[in-house]
C-alpha cells in the first residue's frame, strides 16, 4: 500500500462514518480531505481534528454529529480518550436548528388548571363537531381522503402553482419594451450592421416570488391541523423557492430541509421529535423568539408572509407572544395567524396568548378545512377578506 492510499482510505472511511451519523459530506469533500492530509500531514490529534473539520464539516449545524463520527472513527484507530478531551475542549457554537428554548423557573399549569370558563368559551359550544373532525384528520392518511376532499386538495395545489406574490427583483432581463436602455446589447447588435445603431435593446426588472414561512404548533389538539398545513407547505415549496417550515411545541425545529426531499415518514418523525418534550401547554412566545433570533432577524422572513398555526394557549407569559410578534411585524411583510377554533360561532380569543397576538396580525383565519385553507392561500398573497 502506498502512502497516498492511506490518506484516501482514511478520508473515505471517515466519510462513511459521517454518513452513518447523518452528515452527508460527499466524495468531493473526502477527496479534499485526503489531499489536505497529504499536503499538510497531521502530527497531533488536534491537527487531525482541525484538518478534518475544515475539509469535511458541511455546516456548523452538523457539528455534534461530526464530533460523534470523529470519535467513532478516529477513536477506534488511536487514543480515544485524548480525542474525547479534544472534542470537549472545542467550544460549542450557537445551534441554529432545533435550538433549545430557555427553561423557565415557573411550573406550568396543567391543562386542567386553566380557568374553566376560558376553556368552555373556546371549546364547549360545538365540542362534538371539533372532536369528530379532528378525529377524521388525525386518523386518515392523505391517500384516504374521500373524493370531494381530494378534489379540493387538487384544486388547492393547482391554485398555489399559478398564484404567488411577486416583488420586483434587482436583476434585469432583456425585454423589447423594457424601461432601461441596454447599451451592451445595442452595441453588439450594431457590430452586425457596420456600427449603425439600428435596433434599440432594453431590459426590465425581473420579478421574484416572496418568501413564505410556516410556523406550526404541533402540540396536542393542533397536531392534525399542523399536518394538513405542513402538507400545504410542501405543495407550496414545489412551486416557490423560498418556503420554510418550522414546528414547535416547547421548542422550535426547522423542517425546511425536509420539505422538498423527505417522504412523509421522515417528516413525521421530525415532528414527533419536536413534540417529544411536549408536556401539556405550548411555548408560543419562546418559539417565536427562537424564530426571530435565529431566522427572522437574519432575513428569513424579510418581505414575505409568516403563517403561524396555534390556538394561542401559552404556557408561559403571554406578554412574550405580543413582544415577539411586534418584533416579527417589523421583520416580515405580513403575519397570518391560523387558529382552527375560530370556526366556532361562539369563539372569542380568550386564550391569553391569542389575545396578546391579535393587535399584530394582518389576517386571523380558521384554516381548519381544505375549503378554509383557500382563505389562507389568499391571505398569503395579500388578498384578505
Amino acid at each position: 500500500m502506498t502512502r497516498s492510499d492511506d490518506e484516501v482510505t482514511t478520508a473515505a472511511g471517515f466519510d462513511r462514518a459521517l454518513r452513518a451519523r447523518g452528515v452527508v459530506a460527499g466524495t468531493r469533500r473526502a477527496r479534499t480531505f485526503a489531499e489536505v492530509l497529504l499536503a499538510l500531514p497531521a502530527r497531533s490529534a488536534s491537527e487531525l481534528y482541525w484538518r478534518a473539520r475544515a475539509a469535511m464539516l458541511p455546516s456548523i449545524d452538523d457539528l455534534d454529529a461530526f464530533h460523534v463520527a470523529f470519535l467513532e472513527f478516529f477513536g477506534a484507530l488511536g487514543d480515544a480518550d485524548a480525542l474525547r478531551r479534544l472534542v470537549r475542549s472545542v467550544d460549542a457554537p450557537p445551534r441554529r436548528q432545533a435550538r433549545d428554548l430557555p427553561q423557565r423557573e415557573s411550573i406550568p399549569p396543567a391543562p386542567s388548571d386553566r380557568p374553566a370558563d376560558e376553556r368552555l368559551a373556546e371549546r364547549a359550544p360545538t365540542q362534538w363537531i371539533m372532536a369528530s373532525s379532528e378525529h377524521r384528520l388525525t386518523d386518515k392518511a392523505f391517500e384516504d381522503f374521500d373524493e370531494s376532499e381530494r378534489a379540493a386538495m387538487l384544486r388547492l395545489i393547482a391554485r398555489v402553482r399559478v398564484a404567488g406574490e411577486y416583488r420586483t427583483s434587482r436583476r434585469r432581463r432583456a425585454h423589447a419594451h423594457g424601461d432601461r436602455f441596454d447599451f451592451r446589447g445595442t452595441l453588439r447588435g450594431a457590430s452586425r450592421t457596420a456600427g449603425e445603431l439600428l435596433r434599440r435593446r432594453a431590459s426590465r426588472r425581473r420579478e421574484r416570488l416572496r418568501p413564505v414561512v410556516f410556523i406550526l404548533d404541533v402540540s396536542g389538539s393542533m397536531a392534525p391541523f399542523a399536518r394538513a398545513l405542513l402538507q400545504y407547505a410542501r405543495v407550496t415549496a414545489v412551486a416557490r423557492p423560498a418556503v420554510r417550515a418550522f414546528a414547535f411545541a416547547t421548542r422550535l425545529t426547522d423542517l425546511t430541509p425536509l420539505l422538498k426531499r423527505a417522504g412523509d415518514e421522515r417528516l413525521m418523525s421530525a415532528i414527533a421529535s419536536a413534540v417529544r418534550d411536549y408536556g401539556g401547554g405550548t411555548r408560543i412566545g419562546a418559539a417565536l423568539r427562537a424564530f426571530n433570533d435565529g431566522f427572522a432577524q437574519r432575513g428569513a422572513a424579510r418581505g414575505g408572509t409568516v403563517v403561524i398555526l396555534s390556538d394561542g394557549w401559552e404556557r408561559d407569559d403571554p406578554a412574550l407572544v405580543g413582544t415577539e410578534l411586534q418584533r416579527l411585524r417589523r421583520l416580515a411583510r405580513r403575519i397570518v395567524w391560523v387558529n382552527p377554533h375560530k370556526r366556532h360561532a361562539a369563539y372569542e380569543p380568550l386564550a391569553r396568548g391569542m389575545a396578546a397576538a391579535l393587535p399584530y396580525l394582518d389576517a386571523f383565519l380558521s384554516g381548519h378545512s381544505l375549503r378554509t385553507l383557500d382563505a389562507v392561500a389568499d391571505a398569503i398573497e395579500g388578498r384578505i377578506a
Binding site: V36, S59, V90
Partner: protein
C-alpha cells in the same frame, strides 16, 4: 507538495499582521492556500471574517480585491463590463477616417471588475480575493461562482476564456442570513468563527489599540463576554468590543465602572431592548468586568 504551508507558521504570521487566529481558523486558511481552493468563513456579524482575509493578504504581501455581494449583483458589476462610451467613440472615429470597423472587444475597452481582476496575478499567492457576505447575493450569482471557483476562469463571449496563470486565494464570508447551496459549500473549506475567549479578546483589543490600558482591555473583554451570556438580539462581536474600548478611552475611563457603563453602552449594543437588558443587570456585568482584578 510544492505549495505546502505550515499551519503554525501561518498563525504566527497572521499575528504579526495584526490578526489573532485560533488553530481552527489557521488550519482552514492554510488548507485553502496549500490546495488553491476557496475557504468559506461563517460567523455572526463582527467576529472578524473580513479582517481574516485582509490579514491573509498582508501575510503574503498580496493585493486584496474585495467584492461586496448584494442581491442582483451581476457579471457587469462582479466580473467585467465594456466601456461603451469608448467603444462608440472608436466607431465614430473609424467612420471619420474611413477605416474598417475597429475591434470593439479589445483589451482597452474591457473594464475589469474584482473577479476578472483576480485572475491577473503575476505570481503565486499574489492576489487575495474576498467575496464578502455571499449570503446577500442571489442564487444566480452563486451558480456563476461555481464555475469560477472550479476553473479559476471566466469566459467572455466576445473574447473567449480568460484563465488565471496563478489562482487567487479566495475567501468567502457569510453571515448566514440564508443557507448557501451545498454545491458551493462543497467546493470550499469551511470554518465557523465563534466569539473569542476572554484571553483571546484581550489579546485582540491590545493588538488593535496599543494605547489601551491593560486593565481597561481586560474589563471590556470580560464585560463583552458577560453581555454575550445574556439573551440579546445582537450579541457584541469583536468589532463592537473594539468600538466600546475606543469609546471608553475617549471618555477618559481607566476602568469600566458604573460611571461610564451606561454612557458608553450605545457603542456596543445596537437595540434599545438589548440596552434595557444590559442596564437591568448592570451591576452584575460591571462586577464581571472587574472579575479578575
Amino acid at each position: 507538495m510544492p505549495n505546502s504551508v505550515d499551519v503554525d507558521d501561518l498563525r504566527r504570521r497572521l499575528l504579526e499582521a495584526g490578526y489573532v487566529a485560533d488553530a481552527g481558523l489557521a488550519t482552514a486558511l492554510a488548507c485553502a492556500v496549500a490546495l488553491e481552493r476557496a475557504v468559506l468563513l461563517e460567523g455572526d456579524a463582527g467576529v472578524g471574517k473580513t479582517d481574516a482575509a485582509r490579514a491573509l493578504a498582508s501575510v503574503f504581501g498580496a493585493q486584496l480585491l474585495r467584492l461586496q455581494c448584494y442581491e442582483g449583483l451581476d457579471l457587469a458589476a462582479a466580473a467585467y463590463d465594456w466601456n461603451y462610451g469608448k467603444q462608440l467613440l472608436a466607431i465614430r472615429a473609424a467612420e471619420g477616417s474611413h477605416e474598417h470597423t475597429p475591434d470593439l472587444y479589445h483589451d482597452e475597452f474591457l473594464i475589469r471588475r474584482p473577479l476578472l481582476a483576480a485572475l491577473g496575478a503575476t505570481r503565486p499567492r499574489g492576489i487575495v480575493l474576498l467575496i464578502d457576505e455571499i449570503d446577500r447575493a442571489d442564487d444566480e450569482f452563486e451558480a456563476f461562482l461555481l464555475e469560477f471557483l472550479a476553473d479559476f476562469a471566466i469566459s467572455i463571449p466576445e473574447r473567449g476564456t480568460v484563465a488565471a496563470s496563478h489562482p487567487p486565494i479566495v475567501v468567502l464570508t457569510s453571515n448566514r442570513t440564508r443557507d448557501l447551496h451545498d454545491a458551493l459549500k462543497r467546493r470550499c473549506f469551511y470554518h465557523w468563527i465563534g466569539h473569542p475567549s476572554v484571553e483571546r479578546e484581550i489579546e485582540i483589543l491590545r493588538l488593535h489599540l496599543p494605547q489601551l490600558a491593560p486593565a481597561l482591555a481586560a474589563d471590556v473583554a470580560r464585560a463583552s463576554a458577560a453581555l454575550r451570556e445574556h439573551e440579546l438580539r445582537k450579541a457584541p462581536g469583536i468589532s463592537e468590543s473594539l468600538d466600546w474600548a475606543q469609546t471608553l478611552q475617549l471618555l477618559g475611563a481607566q476602568r469600566l465602572g458604573a460611571d461610564v457603563f451606561e454612557r458608553s453602552l450605545g457603542s456596543v449594543l445596537k437595540y434599545p431592548e438589548d440596552i434595557e437588558t444590559a442596564l437591568a443587570s448592570a451591576t452584575s456585568i460591571i462586577a464581571a468586568a472587574d472579575g479578575g482584578g
